[in-house]
Amino acid sequence: MGPPAFFTLHQLSSALKKRIDEATGGRAFWVKAEVASISAKRHLYLELVQHQDGARIAVMRGIIWQEHMRTIREALGDELPNILKDGAEILVLAKVNFSPLYGASLHIEQVDLSYSLGELERRKRETIATLRDEGLFDRNRLVPEPMVIQRIALITSAGSAAYNDLMQHLEANEYGYRFHVHLIDSTVQGDGAAFQLRKAMVRASTLTVDAVVIIRGGGSKLDLEAFNDLELCRVAARMDLPVITGIGHDVDISVLDMIARSPHKTPTAVADHLINKCLYFETGLSGFLVNIQRTMSERFTVRKEQLSAHSEVLRLRPTMQCQRARAYLNERAAGLAREVTVVLHSYDRQIQVKSSSLATLPIQRLRHVEQVRIREAKARLDEFATRGLSTLQERVQAMQDAIRLMAPERLMARGFSITRKQGTALTDVSGLSIGDEIHTTYSHGRTRAIIQAIEHHERTTDDL
């Protein structure tokens, strides 16, 4: 029995190459792959891999020929070392080549920049999401920043432009503030930067400082990758010290900036921030002092005014009250005097009345007595008149009767006569003398006689 039918290795390889060339038709394809390793000789050789669940599921060599390298370098610019590096995921335009001698490989003609940037962005978002999930995203942002930061743990590359910028700004501040900077040297870009930064951060946490400052000079966008490193951000977020960044970029912002207590664009901006804090604090202190003085002075003024107003009232009020009381008393006194005068006047008048009446009273009294007496007399007279008139009339009648009886005619009729001398009736002889002519009247007639004799004797009735 002979050997089975076989191909030589070259026959097989050639057949495969033929089939592959037929299948690809010499066309280029966009292929996504991860750079496992990279080595630059005359040309650039890459080991491209694909992982799934942590295990490699595909491996292929990639080659960038020198002539393609030129165009690729132009397209990627500064970002080239960040894109074509270990661990980077890249999108390349490549032709499949199968060489009987070297096997399958990809001849890379273009590398897509925007894909790489997009990848960076995607990883950034992943990091952010993870930090949020772990509750770390806001942790350092909520760490209180001291009012004054003078002791600083500075993480940066020693002797770099960023370091010099910061130090020069801090030292040359016009206010004379002093800063104590503890430098922790660390690479800030390229491979291993994230690891070194992480280590530096851990070291900073052991120092007695007010804050941790991380700075870096300007650089390409992908240079920021170290600052997007999940592990570095975790360590930074967990710091009890405030993290201050000045990573030097214009457009993009790193995850470390996002989680830092105080992110700034440049090292110079960080220096300004630190100086301004000192200045603000000092100004605030002076302001406080001025405020204290002003507030106190205002309060004192208000209180003094209150007291002096009270003093004024106290000076005037009781006096006023006393004056009022006095005025009231005076008024009362005046009233009293008036009343007394009125009373006195009334007494006076009474006395006047009395005294004047005293003058007229006896007369009046007398008049009164007389009137009474007259009245009584009149009454008596009236009574007498009424009562005694008849008696009187009777008496008068009797008297008239008597008078009538005693009328000369009657008497003469009864024998009596009237002897007159020179017209005067004679009742005795005492006025007569002898020779006197006497006339005697009778009842009827008269006689004239001359006295011859006169006899005197006692009155007797014997002659009658």
Partner: protein
């Protein structure tokens, strides 16, 4: 005299009360002297307190410098 342990606020409160009584003519002439005397004491106390506090504050502020 006002007891030294009284505070400005207490003294001032009492002063206010007396002033109000005075201004509302609630103080009889009999009480007037006592009340006015007390008010004057309180004013003196408050004034002294203000003066010494102000001096003290100024001293402290001056010490702070700035």
């Amino acid at each position: 005299m006002s007891e030294p342990r009284t505070t400005y606020e207490k003294a001032y409160e009492e002063l206010e009360a007396i002033m109000q009584e005075l201004q509302e003519d609630k103080v009889s002439v009999d009480q007037l002297t006592t009340k006015v005397k007390r008010a004057a004491e309180l004013i003196t106390f408050c004034n002294d307190m203000l003066r010494s506090t102000e001096a003290e504050v100024n001293k402290i502020v001056k010490k702070l410098g700035l």
